[in-house]
């Protein structure tokens, strides 16, 4: 940038009478003064952009626009939302979420994991009052996996998510009769010397199921 003559600057700043300027500066003074007047007459750019932004945020309602379209516009328009939270409640909420994660809250629904599979138990026991499955997958505990016969046709069914791998099991009918699953296809002597056989179930992991 070339330096401006200090006398010219003083005249433009109204600190010197332009009539006192030397003749060779008169033309320069006239051009610069005209340019200053033009700039003074133009509104600042920042004002224009603020106005445009305001228009974009609050467009004038379109004549004839239906209530549905107005609702869509209202829903789609960004709005500032202010949420006032007490710090104690924020901490309590965070602690509650942490507790759920740490304690591994039980999830609903029998969704098998990677190392689990789904086992279907079916048996025909006409006239039975109750049928359950007891086996190595439930520590041979009674009352944990019951079969159902909802339509009373004597065919009892149950579905369970079990760990993948081999399991031995038996049906317990009416709480006292221990019977192998006739549809198991695999059996093994139970080893207690009475020739009784357990059914053998091999649960395929969900990752290996077709």
């Amino acid at each position: 940038m070339s330096p401006i003559d200090p006398r010219l600057q003083e005249a433009l700043d109204s600190e010197r009478d332009p009539g006192d300027l030397p003749v060779d500066l008169w033309e320069a003074y006239a051009r610069l003064n005209a340019a200053t007047q033009i700039l003074k007459a133009t509104p600042p750019v920042s004002v224009a952009s603020r106005v445009m932004a305001e228009i974009r945020q609050n467009p004038a309602p379109v004549q004839g626009e239906g209530p549905g379209r107005r609702l869509i516009h209202w829903l789609g328009r960004p709005r500032a939302v202010t949420v006032r939270l007490r710090p104690v409640w924020t901490l309590a909420l965070a602690a509650g979420l942490t507790a759920v994660l740490v304690l591994q809250w039980p999830r609903g629904g029998p969704t098998p994991g990677v190392a689990q599979g789904i086992a279907n138990f079916v048996g025909q026991f006409p006239g039975a009052q109750s049928v359950e499955v007891v086996g190595s997958f439930n520590d041979w505990s009674r009352g944990m996996l019951h079969l159902n016969d909802d339509d009373g046709d004597g065919i009892w069914r149950a579905k369970a998510v079990l760990p993948a791998g081999q399991h031995e099991y038996m049906f317990v009918v009416d709480g006292e009769r221990w019977l192998p699953d006739p549809l198991a296809g695999r059996y093994v002597d139970d080893g207690f010397g009475a020739g009784q056989q357990n059914s053998v179930l091999i649960v395929r992991p969900v990752s290996a199921q077709p």
Partner: protein, 212 residues
């Protein structure tokens, strides 16, 4: 109790272990109240012996729980658990012989013991383990046991499973080989067992996956 205390307890509480530790994997703790009291000392000593020999104790605990649930008398129950220990020892010997120089994984030992209980012979089991020493042997052993249970020749059944393995089948897909052989046997036309095995061998590794 204030809610702050409840929250604090919830944050520090962790699920407690279900079983204690007493030198046999906590097995006897799980058995208390589930098996006759008269059988507990003998079963406990069996579990301690198994743990001392680095054998898996869980199959023995399961056998004891099974006996208790079935109301098996104490002496027969102890004999059943002791028989399980003997099978585990035999299984560990087979695995060690098949894969020398390695500490036998507990899963391998338990799977071999289960195969022996299903009636497979030691040499057949050892052959199958030797083919794939680093893979869980359960599916291959069960596949051969399935075929043997359907009166297929044990050596021919083992041959088929070895070939299936060599052609890329792994894990539970090996069970499909036994199912395929059984299906071939049941096809109309009266195939012999060796013909059924030959048909399955010809289709390897593309045996149909069995839906659970």
């Amino acid at each position: 109790m204030s809610w702050k205390l409840v929250l604090a307890l919830a944050l520090v509480a962790r699920p407690a272990p279900l079983i204690g530790q007493n030198g046999n994997g906590g097995g006897s703790t799980r058995l208390a109240g589930r098996v006759p009291a008269a059988a507990l000392p003998a079963i406990d000593s069996i579990l301690v012996a198994a743990a001392a020999e680095s054998l898996p104790t869980e199959p023995l605990v399961q056998k004891a729980l099974e006996g208790g649930a079935k109301n098996i008398p104490a002496d027969r129950l102890v004999n059943g658990v002791r028989r399980g220990l003997l099978q585990l020892r035999q299984a560990r010997a087979i695995v060690s012989h098949a894969v020398p120089g390695q500490s036998p994984p507990e899963g391998h030992v338990a799977a071999v013991a289960a195969a022996l209980a299903r009636g497979l012979s030691g040499p057949i089991v050892e052959r199958l383990i030797t083919v794939a020493p680093d893979e869980p042997p359960g599916p291959a052993l069960h596949a051969v046991a399935d075929l043997v249970a359907h009166h297929f020749d044990p050596d021919s059944a083992a041959d088929l499973l070895v070939e299936a393995h060599n052609k890329g089948l792994r894990g539970v897909r090996l069970l499909d080989v036994a199912v395929a052989a059984d299906h071939e046997l049941q096809r109309p036309g009266g195939r012999t067992r060796s013909e059924a095995l030959a048909h399955v061998r010809a289709m390897l590794p593309n045996v149909r996956p069995v839906r659970p």
